[in-house]
Amino acid sequence: MKQTQEQRVAAFQRLADQRLDASYRLATAIMRDDGVARDAVHDAVVLAWQRWPSLRDPAKFDAWFDRIVVNVCRDRLKASRYRRAADIRHAENLTTPDLASQVHRHVVVSEALARLRPDDIVVIVLRYFLDFQLGDVATLLDIPVPTAKGRLRAAMSRLQAQLLPPTDIDRVAP
């Protein structure tokens, strides 16, 4: 039975609303900035609505929508060459004995992460920020599991390489 416009709008609103928290979580993890994440989620909602007719099975909405969110975030990273230092405004939430050292580690890793290619950032964030299994990462990026595994390994190597110079300097410093 053909849906009316009102029914289509209501169905989309219901599904998008249900998925919004997870999408926002995804966007904040990848973009690491609340404001940019908001824009990314909004872009994703717009794109999803525009492509809504192409989704044949509403049961697959969540995975389909998450993929749009990831692609939007990746495009934004690519387009804006979005690079920022660690946002440690919320660092006070982390209460550990060696807070200064931890914040320093956050800054260093965060800056190194920001210097990576958008594709590397996305795969690392999905795996380590959001604790996705490799299978889920592969599904989300629409790639085979071995490819996801290889991409993650390469990304981590590049992240480690980014962190090498300061480590060397630390080693030779008096």
């Binding site: 609103q13 909004h42 525009q50």
Partner: protein, 457 residues
């Protein structure tokens, strides 16, 4: 740092950055999206849609052929031009059209603050022009420029005491106009005179100055025009939530939309008064907007957009679909080709984007970040470009931003823009200051000449 430490740090970073709940405004905007955004009905194509793929392939083939032919043509033309260089006629460039701004500025005392950008120190009648953030400038279709000079002391409830400082005038014209209080015999028989606020709308092709008056808290307004002596009421008590704002056609007709007991009515001004051309019982949104030259006047009534002609109203933009139903706000401007522009429509992609509707396609364009900090005015120039004035405390003003349909150009970044309008010759008139946060009586009237605008293209 070993890999284990990196992984640990990444997990810790997740605790810093990842948010688990979408904020309420993100949720609200998402809910609005399907109501304000048209769907792409046939994109991406369905796998079974073999005809689409066939047509697409053919189109690609034709396009590739056309590009090759075009490239070859250019190459050939280039070779021929090189050979005939000595015989070629002098290049013709599009110079600025005859400007009324030049004549206007010749009678004023000005200071050139940047090449092609002048501050008006005196209009030849008054000096100095010390304005503030509430002042407004309107560049009329007749080439004249009108200022409404007010400050916060003019606003109710202080308007009566200090109304002398709340005046308007046409640059170079000794006549001034101001507005005083009004009584409300219906609501308050024998009551005191109540202060009246005034906002400048537009200057018609015949030079008539139009604006609206309001009484604070009243919720309604009167459309007024300056008759050379005072601001007389030309349309009483529009009860539509927004002001009754007229639009002007190049043929001299003045159009307006107003609400009358819930019905939206469209009328044009005749010697006898307002002639109702169309009434809609549907209620809903209504506005009228004319392009800077008056070549196009579009009227929103109910769920459609009409085009004003000398004969009356003609249907236009039938396929407005859902977005317009929810975008009730009057557009920021319309170009001579009928393209409508809005700035900052909530729920329409990003709330602070520039929205364009050409009659069939809705598009959004991102306003530069610095302009987003405080877009204070948006208008459409006769050449179809869109200008956004903005203000920000930490970006040295933020300045003027011009969008030509593809790219943004920033002018005068040190300025905070309070009011902005563009004359029929393309001159950009604006009220601004260069001291962020210090808006009181420190603003001035500036103009960018059409030649200076063209020089940046």
């Amino acid at each position: 740092m070993i890999e284990r430490d990196i992984e640990l740090t990444l997990h810790e970073l997740a605790r810093v950055h990842v948010r688990h709940e979408a904020p309420a405004d993100v949720r609200e905007d998402a809910r609005l999206v399907p109501l304000t955004t048209p769907r792409r009905r046939s994109w991406p194509p369905q796998p079974a849609d073999w005809r689409f793929h066939s047509i697409l392939s053919a189109a690609r083939f034709v396009l590739a052929g056309a590009i090759v032919a075009l490239f070859g043509g250019f190459l050939l033309a280039g070779i021929l031009a090189q050979r005939n260089e000595d015989m070629a006629p002098a290049a013709v460039t599009d110079g600025p059209s005859p400007t009324t701004t030049e004549a206007l500025l010749s009678g004023m005392v000005t200071e050139e603050v940047e090449p092609g950008v002048f501050r008006v120190l005196s209009d030849g009648v008054r000096e100095p022009l010390a304005l503030d953030s509430q002042a407004k400038v309107v560049a009329g279709m007749d080439g004249s420029v009108v200022l409404w000079h007010t400050d916060r002391r003019c606003h109710p409830p202080h308007a009566l005491e200090l109304r002398a400082s709340c005046t308007g005038y046409r640059l170079g014209d000794p006549e001034t106009f101001s507005i005083s209080g009004a009584t409300e015999p219906e609501q308050d028989p024998g009551g005191d005179l109540k202060p009246v606020g005034f906002g400048l709308h537009e200057v018609g092709p015949d030079g008539t100055i139009w604006g609206y008056s309001f009484i604070q808290g009243d919720g309604r307004n009167d459309l007024r025009a300056f008759d050379g002596d005072s601001l007389v009421v030309r349309k009483e008590r529009g009860d539509y939530p927004s002001e009754v704002e007229p639009g002007f056609a190049a043929d001299g007709t003045t159009w307006a939309v107003w609400s009358d007991g819930g019905d939206v009515k469209v009328g044009r001004l005749t010697a006898e008064g307002w002639e109702v051309v169309q009434g809609s019982e549907a209620g809903g949104a209504g506005w009228v907007i004319g392009s800077a030259t008056g070549k196009v006047v579009l009227i929103r009534v109910g769920e459609g957009i009409m085009r004003a002609t000398t004969e009356g109203l003609a249907p236009s933009y039938d396929a407005i679909e859902a977005p317009l139903l929810h975008v009730r706000r009057r557009p920021a401007g319309v170009a001579d080709d009928g393209t409508l522009w809005w700035a900052g429509v909530r729920g329409f992609e990003r709330p602070r984007d520039l929205v364009r509707f050409d009659g069939s396609i809705w598009q959004t364009f991102e306003i530069p970040v610095v302009a987003r900090m405080g877009p204070l005015g948006t208008t459409v120039a006769p050449d179809g470009s869109v200008w956004v004035g903005s203000g920000a405390y930490d970006e040295r003003g933020s300045g003027l931003h011009r969008f030509d349909g593809t790219a943004w150009t920033r002018f005068l970044p040190q300025f905070t823009i309070f009011s902005l309008d563009i004359g029929p010759d393309g001159a950009v008139w604006f009220i601004a200051n260069v001291e962020p946060g210090d808006n009181r009586d420190h603003a001035g009237l500036y103009v960018i000449t059409p030649e200076a605008v063209l020089a940046t293209d």
